[in-house]
Amino acid sequence: MFKIFRYSLSDLLRSSWSYFYFSFYLLLGFGLLFFNPDVSKSVITLMNIIVVFSSLIAVVFGIMYYYNSREFIELLLAQPIKRSDIFIGQYLAVSVSLSLSLLLGVGIPFVIYGVADADLVKNFLVLMTAGIFLNFIFVAVAYNIALYHENRIKGFSYAILFWLFMTLIYDGLFLISLMMFKEYPLEKASLAATLFNPIDLSRILILLRLDISALMGYTGAVFKNFFGTTLGLTIALFSLLIWVILPVLNIYRKGNKKDF
């Protein structure tokens, strides 16, 4: 697995895509930190972009990489290596290369800007955690979609649809159902609903930093316990981890079964 990972990663790190993606974050980071008078505003903008954009890039790039390396996968499949190692190795390589672009692209401006501000460092760490989780989750989902769909157009459409569903449609339905059932106690239901959406989960990580004051304004005990202690952070991180593990397990399972 490590060999496949290493080769795919070195392949990816030399592709112009990685450079493009890295420079995008670099420019964004510099632009927001150095040409914006208000750092807290920059951090909020950066957070929005990372949640929405890195998940989109991860799912699109993941599915593209799989389809483009289809023949290469066939070549590897004929070699004396474990089948699942190929998929997991490639999956890790894509996720790591995207995460590196993000980490360095945003990290370099942050370091140059000065990491003396403890609050800024914490914000940066939260940003990176959320972004890296989203990369690993959305690439895993992309690989799942690709493993089930030979047809590239279909695969792409499902990938985009999945992203759109998680970033927009899910929350829309979520909000509408909250409004419809507002007579009922919704505290636990609304917390549970966020667990099923990785975008919402990474948003929670960010809310815990930025909007804790507003979140503490809610009277319910469950919310208070969730947001007021480290419970919320723990559950959100744990759920994100589950969101990585389950699709990866399925890559493993499907990868062993699939015909080429």
């Binding site: 008078p37 927009l168 409004m179 909007d211 804790i212 004051s213």
Partner: protein
Amino acid sequence: MLRIFLCIILLYSQLNVFAQTVRVCKTCELKTLQAGIAQAKSGDTLHIEKGIYKEHEVIVDKPLTIIGKDYPVIDGEMIGEIIRVISDSVTIDGLFIKNVGTSYTSDFAAIRIKRSKHFLIQNLKLETLFFGIYLEKSDDGIIQNNYIKGNAKVEYQSGNGIHLWHCKNVQVLNNKIYNVRDGIYFEFVNNSLVQGNVSINNLRYGLHFMFSNNDIYKDNYFEDNGAGVAVMFSKFIKIENNTFKKNKGAASYGLLLKEINDATISNNIFQENTIGTYLEGCNRITYANNNLIQNGWALKMMGACFENKFIHNNFIGNTFDVSYSGGNTTDNRFDYNYWSEYAGYDLNKDGTGDVPFRPVKLFSFITTKVPESIILIRSSFVDLVNFSEKVSPVFTPEHVSDSFPSMNKF
């Protein structure tokens, strides 16, 4: 002329000869504070030496200066009130007073000043207390540099740090108050000054203040108090240069204003509070040059607010900048503020944005209807909802808008 002057000098020195110093210590003739006071004459100075004095219900009934050396401990043994001042011109300085009795029927205090004037209470340390310094119908005094640390757990079993009732011309300066019910409590207190105090971690309010007019609050620091700071039913007050920080909770406010008229609130910092400033039934308030940073709701206006002016404030990184309920008139003005959410442009380079900023978001309405929906803040869907409302306002009040949003922080 010279003769008269000499006479005055002579008179003064005569007085000084009469004013004596009385020593109280464990090995002295006078072993208790009570005995010292009984022995002393009006205008005398009482020196309390280091030691532990188990006393309560000490009555100061003549003008005296009581000074502790190296913080002698007055231990009330949890019985009742410890010192009561019922005379004018009393100074109490440098005592460590502890173990005030708790009662459900009487407000026992470490020091109570009753119907007296010209008092000076300073450099005290108060611990394990019910009420700390309790002023009752007393005027023209100073309370300064005291350190008050309570151990309040529940509201009905705890008292206030500095409590003023029916007073005027009192100065409360540079006190530090922790873990009591209300840090500083004012009721019917006029023409007074509260400056440089620190009030942290109190069970209910850092500062609680009612029916008190023409007062000034400045340079105070309030942090992590159960309900923040509440100011109610008062007129002509000035709140300047204070910091209101980290008051988080469902009923927690940086500053709660209720029925306040003609006040000036300026140069304050409101940071990381669930609600930065809450206004209800407030009129003609000038709210200027304040910093509102990372609050849940920076400003919440809950009705019957008229002719208030919000100008030159910085609204930075708040979850919601302004929440506005019905029942406010349309003459509240928001002008020339800096809003970090503002995404407009300034083509004519005059420092203010060319399109007005609407600080009330549709989603803040939704959260009042369905509080649980707060969990969806900053989601793309909510951004979309807010954006569409911004483009064509249907639910949010049209007049709540800053026509001259500043492009830069103040």
